[in-house]
Amino acid sequence: MHGNDSSGDEMSLVTNRTMDIAVALLLLLVSAVVIYDSARLGFDWRENEGPASGYFPFYIALILASSSLVNLLRALFARHGVDSESFVSRPAFMRVLAVLIPAFIFVAVIQLLGLYIASALFIIAFMLTLGRESIIRSVAVGVTIPLALFVLFEIWFLVPLPKGPVENFLGY
C-alpha cells in the first residue's frame, strides 16, 4: 500500500524472505502449542458428547501447521528477486519503534495512573519529542483530549474508564 521509494537509498534491515521464514516458524510454534493442548483435552469421539473439546482445534492446528510449512519451504527456496526485497530499512524500523515502545509504556502507565493522566502524558511526550511541536501546543492538545474523553465517557455515556490516584484524590 505504501510506496517504497525510500527503501532504495536506506539500508535494509531485514528482507521479506527472512520475515516470511520467521512468521512461518512462529505459526508452526503456535500450532504446536495448540496441538499439545488439544491432545490433553482429547480429540476423539465421546459417547453422548460428540467430538471432544480438542477435536476442532486439533485439526485447525494441523491445517495451520501444514500451510505454514508450505510457506516456510516457499520462503526458503524462493528465487532471489521479489522475496529478497527489503521488509524494512533501519531508519524506517527506528521510526516504527519510536511509536511502538512508547505505546507499550503508555499501557503500563494506564495501569499505574489511570487512562486520563496516561493519555495526557503520552500525547504531550509524543508531540514534543517525535513531532517537535511547541510546548504550548503539545500541552493544549494533551490536556484537551483527556478532558473531552472524560466528559464523553464518565459524564455523558456513563462508561467508566480506568482511573488512578489523581482521580481518586479529586473525588472520582
Binding site: M1, H2, G3, S6, N16, M19, D20, V23, L27, V30, S31, V34, D37, L41, W45, E49, G50, P51, S53, Y55, F56, P57, I60, A61, I63, L64, S67, S68, V70, N71, R74, F87, V88, A92, F93, R95, V96, A98, V99, L100, A103, F104, F106, V107, I110, Q111, L115, S119, F122, I123, F126, M127, G131, E133, V141, P146, F157, V159, L161, P162
Partner: protein, 501 residues
C-alpha cells in the same frame, strides 16, 4: 410486494428526529474516520460500539451503519486528493482518481467517486430489500449441517477468490480459528489453551483484535513511511457536479457490471477490496478507453468505487439473514447485535421486524444524507488531513486504547491490542490477509458449534454434509472454491507445458 410494506414501516421507524440526528452524526464521524489514517470502518465502529450500549438497538445500529457508510465515502477523498488510500478498498480509486486531481479535475473525480459510491450502495440496498427476506425465509429451514456448510463456503471463498497466496490465507484463517478456540469451551465447559492463565479465561475478543490489527497496525505502517501529506486543495463547484453527472448515463454498463461484481463479492465474503480491484480490472479490459486507464480516466474511478460500495453494503445481507458477516465491519456490527441481545440469523426477520426494516430503511436514508453531506463538506474533510500526523497519531492511539478497554473493561485487552497491532503491521507487509483472520475469530465458535452439532446428529458420519441437495450443493460449491487455486495452477501448468517442449 410484502417487502415494500415492510420497508415503509421501516421508514416510519427510521424517520424520527433523533434517528436522523444520529444518522448525520454517524456519517460525519464515519467520513472523519475514513479520512484519518489508522481509523477505518471496522475499527472505527468497534471503538464507538461501547458508546451505543445505552441507546435503543435500532438507533444504535443506525448510527453505527452510518459510520460505516461515512467511512466508505471518506476513503475516496484521501485517495483522490492525496494519493493515500484511507481504506484498503480505495486503493484502486487512486489509480485514476489521483491523476485526475493532478490534471486539475479533482472536483470531477470526487463527484464521480461519490456518485458511484451512492449508486453502488443503493443498488446493494435494493438487493438486500428484496433478497434478504427470501434468504431468511429459506434459512429458517437450516439445521446445523446447513449452517456449517454456509460457514465453510464463507471461508472457502476467501481462498478461492483471494488475490495472494492461498497458503497465507489459510494460515491467517487458521490462526483466527485457533485464537477463537482459546477460553471456555461452550459444549463441554472445559478450558482450552488457557494454560492456567486467568486473563485468558475469556479468550481473545475479536473487537480488540480488530482495533489492534487495523488501527495500531495502520499507525505503525504510517509511521514507517514517515507520513507527510501534500495534496491538492479541493472545492466542489456546483457546475462541476452537474457536468460530471451528465457524463454518468454514458457509463451505465460500467455501473451495472460493477454493481453485480460488488453485490456478488459482498454477499459471498470476497469483500470490498477485491471487488474494487476486480471491477477496475474488468473495466480496463472492456472499456474503449482502456489504454487511458491510469492516466485519469473517469471510468477508472467509477468502476472501483461502485463495486466497493456495493460490496460493503451487501456484506450486511448474510450478516442479517444468516448471522454470517461478509466483511470485518459487518462482523463488528454483528458483535454489536449480540451485545444488544439480538440473535442475528433468520429468526431476526420474524422476531424483530422493526429492527431489521428500520435498519434497511436507514441504509437508503443514510446514503442519501451521506451523498449530500459529503458533496458539500469536502473542503472541511480535506482540511482534517492537513492536521500534522504528529498530533493525529497519539490521539488515535489513545482512542484505540479507550476502545479496546471498553470492550470488556480490562487492561489486558489494551496490551493485546498493541500486540495485535504488531501482528497487523507484519502481516500486511508480508501479504497475509487480515479479513479471514478476523472472520475466523468471530465465527470460530459458531462454526465449531454447528460442526459438532452436525456430528452429533449423524453420530460422527461426515456424509451428513451431503445428505440432501441443499447442504450438498453448498458444500460442493465450497469445495470447488477451496480447491480453485489448485485447479487454476494445474490448468496453467498444463497449458504452459506444450510450449516448453
Amino acid at each position: 410486494m410484502e417487502e415494500i410494506a415492510s420497508l415503509m414501516q421501516g421508514f416510519a421507524v427510521a424517520l424520527t428526529p433523533f434517528n436522523l440526528l444520529l444518522m448525520l452524526v454517524g456519517i460525519l464521524l464515519g467520513v472523519i474516520i475514513g479520512v484519518l489514517p489508522g481509523l477505518g470502518g471496522a475499527n472505527g465502529v468497534a471503538i464507538l460500539l461501547p458508546l451505543t450500549f445505552s441507546m435503543p438497538p435500532t438507533s444504535a445500529i443506525i448510527m453505527l451503519s452510518c459510520i460505516y457508510w461515512g467511512a466508505l465515502f471518506g476513503g475516496a477523498i484521501t485517495s483522490i486528493l492525496f494519493n493515500i488510500p484511507g481504506e484498503p478498498w480505495s486503493v484502486a480509486t487512486t489509480f485514476d482518481g489521483h491523476p485526475m486531481a493532478q490534471k486539475g479535475k479533482a472536483d470531477e473525480a470526487l463527484t464521480a467517486a461519490f456518485t458511484s459510491s451512492f449508486v453502488g450502495a443503493i443498488v446493494a440496498v435494493i438487493v438486500i430489500t428484496f433478497l434478504a427476506p427470501l434468504v431468511a425465509r429459506f434459512a429458517l429451514k437450516f439445521g446445523p449441517p446447513e449452517f456449517f456448510a454456509v460457514q465453510f463456503l464463507t471461508f472457502a471463498s476467501f481462498i478461492g477468490m483471494g488475490k495472494g497466496s492461498p497458503f497465507k490465507t489459510l494460515a491467517a484463517m487458521c490462526l483466527g480459528f485457533a485464537l477463537a478456540a482459546v477460553g471456555l469451551d461452550n459444549v463441554t465447559g472445559q478450558l482450552r489453551m488457557t494454560f492456567d492463565q486467568e486473563m485468558l479465561l475469556n479468550g481473545f475478543k475479536f473487537l480488540v483484535a480488530v482495533i489492534g490489527l487495523f488501527g495500531i497496525g495502520e499507525i505503525l505502517s504510517s509511521m514507517e513511511s514517515g507520513l507527510n501529506f501534500s495534496g491538492a486543495h479541493a472545492k466542489i463547484r456546483l457546475d462541476a457536479v452537474l457536468q460530471t453527472w451528465k457524463q454518468m448515463p454514458r457509463l451505465w454498463f460500467t455501473f451495472l457490471r460493477s454493481c453485480i461484481i460488488g453485490c456478488w463479492m459482498g454477499i459471498t465474503p470476497g469483500g470490498a477490496t477485491p471487488a474494487s480491484f476486480m471491477s477496475y480490472g474488468l473495466a480496463k479490459q472492456f472499456s474503449k478507453n482502456g489504454k487511458n486507464f491510469g492516466k485519469g480516466e473517469i471510468e477508472g474511478v467509477v468502476a472501483p468505487e461502485t463495486a466497493a460500495h456495493a460490496a460493503g453494503t451487501s456484506a450486511l445481507l448474510p450478516m442479517l439473514t444468516l448471522g454470517i458477516p461478509g466483511s470485518p465491519t459487518a462482523a463488528v456490527l454483528l458483535g454489536g447485535l449480540l451485545i444488544w441481545g439480538l440473535q442475528p440469523g433468520p429468526m431476526l426477520f420474524v422476531e424483530q421486524p422493526d429492527f431489521v426494516w428500520g435498519l434497511i430503511a436507514s441504509m437508503y436514508l443514510g446514503n442519501v444524507v451521506g451523498l449530500i453531506l459529503i458533496l458539500t463538506c469536502v473542503p472541511l474533510f480535506a482540511a482534517i488531513l492537513r492536521i500534522p500526523f504528529s498530533i493525529i497519531a497519539p490521539i488515535i492511539l489513545v482512542i484505540c486504547a479507550v476502545g479496546a478497554y471498553t470492550v470488556n473493561n480490562s487492561i489486558f485487552d489494551v496490551w493485546m491490542m498493541v500486540v495485535f497491532g504488531v501482528i497487523g503491521y507484519v502481516f500486511v507487509k508480508l501479504s497475509y490477509p487480515l479479513p479471514p483472520l478476523v472472520l475466523a475469530l468471530v465465527l470460530g465458535d459458531m462454526a465449531e458449534g454447528s460442526f459438532r452439532q452436525s456430528m452429533l446428529i449423524s453420530q460422527g458420519d461426515l456424509s451428513v454434509f451431503f445428505s440432501n441437495w441443499l447442504v450438498g450443493s453448498i458444500m460442493t460449491l465450497g469445495l470447488i472454491l477451496l480447491f480453485w487455486p489448485a485447479l487454476r495452477w494445474l490448468i496453467t501448468l498444463r497449458r504452459s507445458k506444450p510450449q516448453h517442449a
